[in-house]
């Protein structure tokens, strides 16, 4: 039976217990954002509309646009992996840094990437004045932020759960930090790194397409890419060209999966820690072909030739990975106190000046109250999205998961659906809404669900296919059917995977609200009341006071719900309903 892991993979949602410090760190992250905004806002780049490339909606330009989009994705992926390896390593190895870095990552994860776009565009345009590079960087950054967090959590989790005996063996052998990182730490986390990388990459298509054409302060910024192609076609009401864009997108997603991710997933199987041969291994035709070619031998030879001097050099530079047996408890405690004091002082000052900045806006601090009210409307939409998707997709996912042969074919399809940027389908939905006269206040729920529901389906399939067939046979044997079977076996068994999927879906829905609550189609502008449209409109009018307030409130909603609801469900799922 094919058993696929859930996404994010198991354990990567596990966190430290919530402590008051975490709230403090959360404030700190906002300060960082706030600092970037201030820099961006004060930069005042002169904007020449002719500077941005004009997008042609001719389908013949699509291959070029696709290539540009793809390049952005991989540049972002490179940065995401670099960031994840470094961040997780420091967080796992440094006790003091960990107390700040892990909660900070939690907050970062809940910051709406798209709401932040106006800010980053302004910032990067100032950084690379007079060139398209600023726009490119902003788009790459948006994609990066949607890829990095889950990869980081997965690597961090693999580092802190590393076997104690491996750690001891490494220290006794006297491996350098460099050598240890590449021969123990990274291989040990490789499977999680690749799996979470693949799924996050899929999710980030949405952010790529949304970040290729944005309107900041009344100015349109466009980058050549599939996303901007489709958006321009939508604005001009050319549904036929939109279809071409969709086809290109599907081809691109499939190609990247076949040529890049599948081979990687099959390759990292060798890093599985269980020292037994597993019967069901992911396979890849491309990897098999590669393996039969002479490239691996050549590459291996080159790698070995380079590795020796590099290892020597970096080994000497990073030193031997060891822990001193001598500890000074008093000195350590004093340093802890000093560290805490510095963190508190910086946060306190920053928090004060951030609130002062928001208060300096037209509405003063009252804007926070307004944003909270609108946030509640968006919250209701997110809740409906998760509830309705669950009712529809849990039974379907269970059915697929219980039929290994169906699952084998359908799971990759679902993965493509989850990767597919839902904003490409928006115009078709809008046409429908206009036709039947449905307000976007309700219609936006459907738009939000278009992209996020698949995470529930995907994870439920994964959960259901992991249910041992013995358990189902036992239920058959005892003639437990219908309601009773669902209540006693099926729902509890898929619960952990479902919770993982629902957390991801809810997070995605919040993010999607920014593009789903305000839509422009063929000169119609449809707006829904909510936090998403609040942030979008603030972005369009370049009101940084409102942008900051909007992002702050949305992150408070997301982290609050995580702490109050999802974290609890997740720990129940892990302790009571885990099958392993």
């Amino acid at each position: 039976m094919a058993v696929t892991p859930t996404f994010p993979s198991r354990g990567s949602l596990r966190r430290l217990r919530f402590r008051p410090l975490d709230a403090v760190v959360g404030a700190g992250v906002f300060l960082l954002i706030y600092a970037v905004v201030r820099v961006g806002a004060s930069a005042h780049v002169p904007i020449r509309p002719g500077q941005a490339s004009a997008i042609s909606t001719s389908p013949s330009r699509l291959p070029y646009y696709a290539a540009r989009s793809l390049l952005r994705m991989f540049v972002a992926l490179f940065f995401a992996y670099t960031f994840s390896l470094g961040y997780a390593y420091v967080a796992a190895r440094n006790r003091r840094a960990r107390r700040v870095m892990i909660p900070a990552l939690d907050i970062l994860q809940s910051v709406p990437v798209l709401g932040f776009l106006a800010v980053t565009v302004t910032f990067f345009l100032a950084l690379f004045p007079g060139s398209e590079l600023g726009l490119e960087a902003a788009s790459v950054f948006a994609v990066f932020t949607s890829q990095a967090w889950n990869i980081t959590f997965s690597f961090y989790h693999s580092l802190v759960t590393q076997s104690g005996e491996l750690d001891e063996a490494s220290r006794l052998m006297g491996l350098s930090r460099w050598k240890r990182f590449w021969s123990i730490d990274v291989p040990g986390g490789a499977i999680g790194l690749v799996w979470n990388g693949m799924m996050s990459f899929g999710g980030s298509w949405f952010f790529l397409t949304a970040s290729e054409l944005i309107i900041v302060g009344g100015h349109r910024y466009t980058l050549p890419g599939v996303g901007s192609y489709v958006e321009v076609a939508v604005e001009q009401g050319q549904l036929g060209h939109v279809v071409w864009g969709i086809v290109t997108m599907i081809v691109m997603i499939l190609a990247v999966n076949v040529v890049f991710w599948r081979p990687l997933v099959a390759y990292v199987e060798r890093f599985r820690l269980e020292q037994t041969e597993s019967s069901q291994k992911p396979r890849s035709v491309v990897l098999d072909a590669l393996r039969r070619s002479s490239w691996p031998v050549l590459a291996g030879r080159t790698r070995r030739a380079i590795a020796e001097p590099v290892n020597q050099l970096m080994g000497a530079a990073t030193g031997i990975d060891d822990r001193s047996l001598v500890s000074h408890a008093a000195r350590r405690r004093a340093a802890d106190v000093a560290f805490a004091a510095v963190v508190a002082a910086v946060l306190g000052f920053g928090l004060y000046s951030m609130l002062a900045y928001i208060a300096a806006g037209q509405q003063g601090l009252g804007v926070l109250g307004q944003a909270f009210g609108l946030g509640f409307l968006t919250f209701l939409r997110v809740a409906v999205v998760v509830a309705v998707s669950s009712v529809i997709w849990v039974p379907v996912g269970v059915w697929i998961g219980f039929n290994p042969r169906v699952a084998q074919y359908l799971q990759p399809v679902v993965q493509v659906f989850a990767s597919f940027p839902a904003n490409f389908i928006f115009p078709f939905a809008i046409v429908l809404f206009l036709d039947i006269g449905l307000s976007l206040n309700y219609g936006s729920i459907l738009l939000m669900a278009l992209g996020t529901q698949w995470y529930i389906l995907f994870n439920v399939i994964a959960g259901a296919s992991a249910v041992p067939s013995d358990m189902r046979e036992a239920m058959d044997n005892l003639a437990v059917h219908g309601r009773e079977r669902w209540r006693r076996m099926i729902l509890p068994a898929v619960f952990p995977a479902y919770v993982t999927g629902a957390i991801t879906a809810a997070g995605g829905a919040w993010n999607a609200s920014i593009v789903a609550e305000i839509v422009i189609y063929n000169r119609h502008v449809l707006v829904a009341r909510g936090l998403g449209s609040f942030i979008s409109q603030a972005t369009a009018s370049n009101n940084f006071h409102e942008i900051i307030a909007g992002i702050l409130v949305m992150a408070v909603y997301v982290t609050g719900l995580n702490a109050l609801l999802w974290r609890r469900l997740y720990s129940i799922a892990e302790s009571k309903y885990a099958l392993a």
């Binding site: 076997s163 005996e165 491996l166 001891e168 063996a169 220290r171 006794l172 052998m173 006297g174 491996l175 350098s176 050598k179 021969s183 123990i184 291989p187 060798r270 890093f271 599985r272 820690l273 269980e274 020292q275 037994t276 041969e277 020796e308 290892n311 020597q312 080994g315 031997i320 060891d322 822990r323 001193s324 047996l325 001598v326 500890s327 009571k576």
Partner: protein
């Protein structure tokens, strides 16, 4: 070479539990290992033997005392030693040869020489031909051979082994032991000094020149003996079996001492939470052992024989023995375990009957089971959080031990139908039906709280003495008497009166036993 290779001096190690309460694992260990010695550290689980090995390797820092290697105090990992691990600790993504070479690479050995030495080591352990295999393709025994090759290839001054054979099946481990000995005796590798941690007595007697037996909770050196047997050693010889039996007695002796005291009749005579901790034994294990004994002649057997026949290690067998003795189902004399009258009835009874016999025995002799049962009977809604009992236990044992004790008590009490446990809510629940409820109908001995006042004019008038004397008398009648913070203050008569009473000294949390002047100053109960 002057002086010992490894010198452990007055080493103590305690780990702190979640609430900062220190739990001692090793206490006052002093030990010298000379160059060329083969030393076995033998002990039950909880004796801290692996911790001691890791202190010698410089992997963890001792809380007290120090470890010297060639006269130098260790400040970090001791890279003149290598270790063979119980679970092998190989890197599954490297081939056998790469696994063996990685330590040489860290020591900056040139690539050509590295390969040559690795191949020689692989050849030495008999894995010639498997150089390019991955660990997951190998059997357990072969993996451990890679573990040995990896440790020996760097030619360490001392080879440390942490239960190297215990993850292997019987035949494989026997084979590997023989080969290790052959290599060592034949001087096939330059490393002469070996320190091995094991809980297998025969393994220690078979391999080591010197055997150190560690006691439990906290680990102290109980015996340090030379192995008088000449090599090659054979299992079925008289000398061998005598030595194994002697060590067996040494290892069983003190741990079951409190429980072997003749049980007094009547309820509540067992002991207290502090002095009769529950052994880590399941009900299935206890009744299984009782049935095995019943099948024996006279319902008695020698422990070494029993372990041998059942294929059990000391670690597995002793908790079961402790449980039988604690419950009054068997008596232990030397190494001979004899089923008592009650034990025979228990072993031969039907499921329902044996449950009831077990319930009575647990209430009489297992203080924790009794405490939980009574507390539930006395509670208003018949519900108590498990944390309530772990809090009580924590004053007697560490955090982990408290949790383990409660697990056993829950297991026993559930089987005996004395109470139920709701794991999701962490609540222990009164049984309203079944044995637990029937037993409660029995009139209990009167144990109302009586307040006695002892008045005296001046210090030294004998108030304390009289109070403690009465306390002892009450205790001998089966009452639970605990005296909080009593001091003899150098008065011999008071000191005499305290004897036999459990004293729980006031112990500030997280502070620990700051001064270890005498046993009275510690935070664990003393009698």
């Amino acid at each position: 070479m002057n002086g010992p290779l490894i010198s452990v001096q007055a080493l103590g190690k305690s780990f702190s539990s979640a609430d900062g309460h220190p739990v001692p694992v090793l206490d006052d260990i002093t030990l010298d290992v000379d160059e060329g010695e083969f030393v076995a550290l033998l002990g039950r689980s909880g004796s801290g033997k692996s911790t001691l090995l890791r202190c010698i390797a410089g992997l963890i820092a001792p809380s007290e005392g120090e470890v010297l290697f060639r006269g130098q105090r260790l400040a970090g990992t001791n890279r003149d030693t290598t270790m063979v691990f119980q679970t092998f600790a190989l890197l599954p993504w490297l081939t056998v040869q790469q696994n063996v070479e990685i330590g040489l690479e860290a020591r900056r050995v040139a690539p050509a020489q590295r390969t040559e030495r690795a191949l020689r080591a692989i050849d030495l352990v008999g894995l010639d031909g498997y150089e390019s295999a991955y660990p997951k393709e190998l059997s357990g025994g072969m993996r451990q051979r890679v573990g040995f090759a990896r440790a020996l290839v760097v030619e360490p001054a001392a080879l440390l082994m942490d239960e190297p054979f215990s993850a292997l099946d019987v035949l494989t481990s026997e084979n590997l032991r023989g080969e290790l000995l052959e290599l060592w005796e034949g001087q096939r590798f330059p490393t002469k000094t070996m320190v091995m941690v094991t809980h297998n007595i025969e393994e220690a007697v078979l391999l080591a020149d010197r055997i150190l037996v560690l006691g439990t909770n906290p680990g102290r050196i109980r015996a340090d003996m030379r192995n008088p047997l000449a090599r090659p050693r054979r299992r079925r010889t008289q000398g061998f079996e005598e030595l194994v039996d002697r060590i067996y007695r040494m290892m069983t002796q003190r741990d079951s001492a409190p429980a072997t005291a003749p049980a007094r009749p009547g309820a509540g005579s067992g002991g207290t939470l502090g002095d009769s901790p529950l052994p880590q034994a399941t009900v299935d294990g206890v009744s299984g052992l009782a049935e095995v004994l019943l099948g024996r002649h006279d319902g008695a057997a020698d422990l070494p024989d029993l372990a041998d026949n059942l294929g059990l290690e000391v670690d597995d067998l002793l908790p079961l023995v402790d449980a039988l003795v604690l419950l009054g189902f068997a008596g232990l004399r030397g190494e001979r375990l004899t089923l008592s009258h009650h034990g025979k009835i228990f072993a031969g009874a039907s499921i329902q009957d044996s449950k009831e016999i077990f319930a009575r025995a647990a209430l009489d002799h297992a203080p924790l089971v009794r405490t939980i049962y009574r507390a539930l009977r006395g509670s208003l809604d018949g519900n108590l959080p498990a944390g309530f009992f772990t809090d009580i236990l924590r004053t007697h044992a560490g955090e982990d031990e408290a949790a383990r004790q409660l697990d056993v008590a829950v297991n026993w009490g559930r089987y005996a139908e004395l109470y139920a446990y709701d794991a999701a809510r962490g609540q222990i629940i009164r049984e309203e039906h079944g044995i637990g409820a029937t037993l409660a109908d029995r009139p209990e001995p009167a144990r109302r709280g009586t307040l006695h006042l002892y008045l005296g004019a001046a210090p030294g008038s004998g108030k304390t003495f009289t109070m403690l004397r009465d306390g002892r008398a009450l205790r001998d009648h089966g009452e639970d008497v605990v005296v909080g913070f009593a001091q003899a203050r150098d008065r011999p008569r008071t000191a005499e009166a305290i004897r036999g009473l459990e004293i729980v000294p006031a112990c500030p949390r997280g502070d620990g036993p700051r001064r270890r002047a005498g046993p009275q100053a510690r935070c664990s109960p003393r009698r």
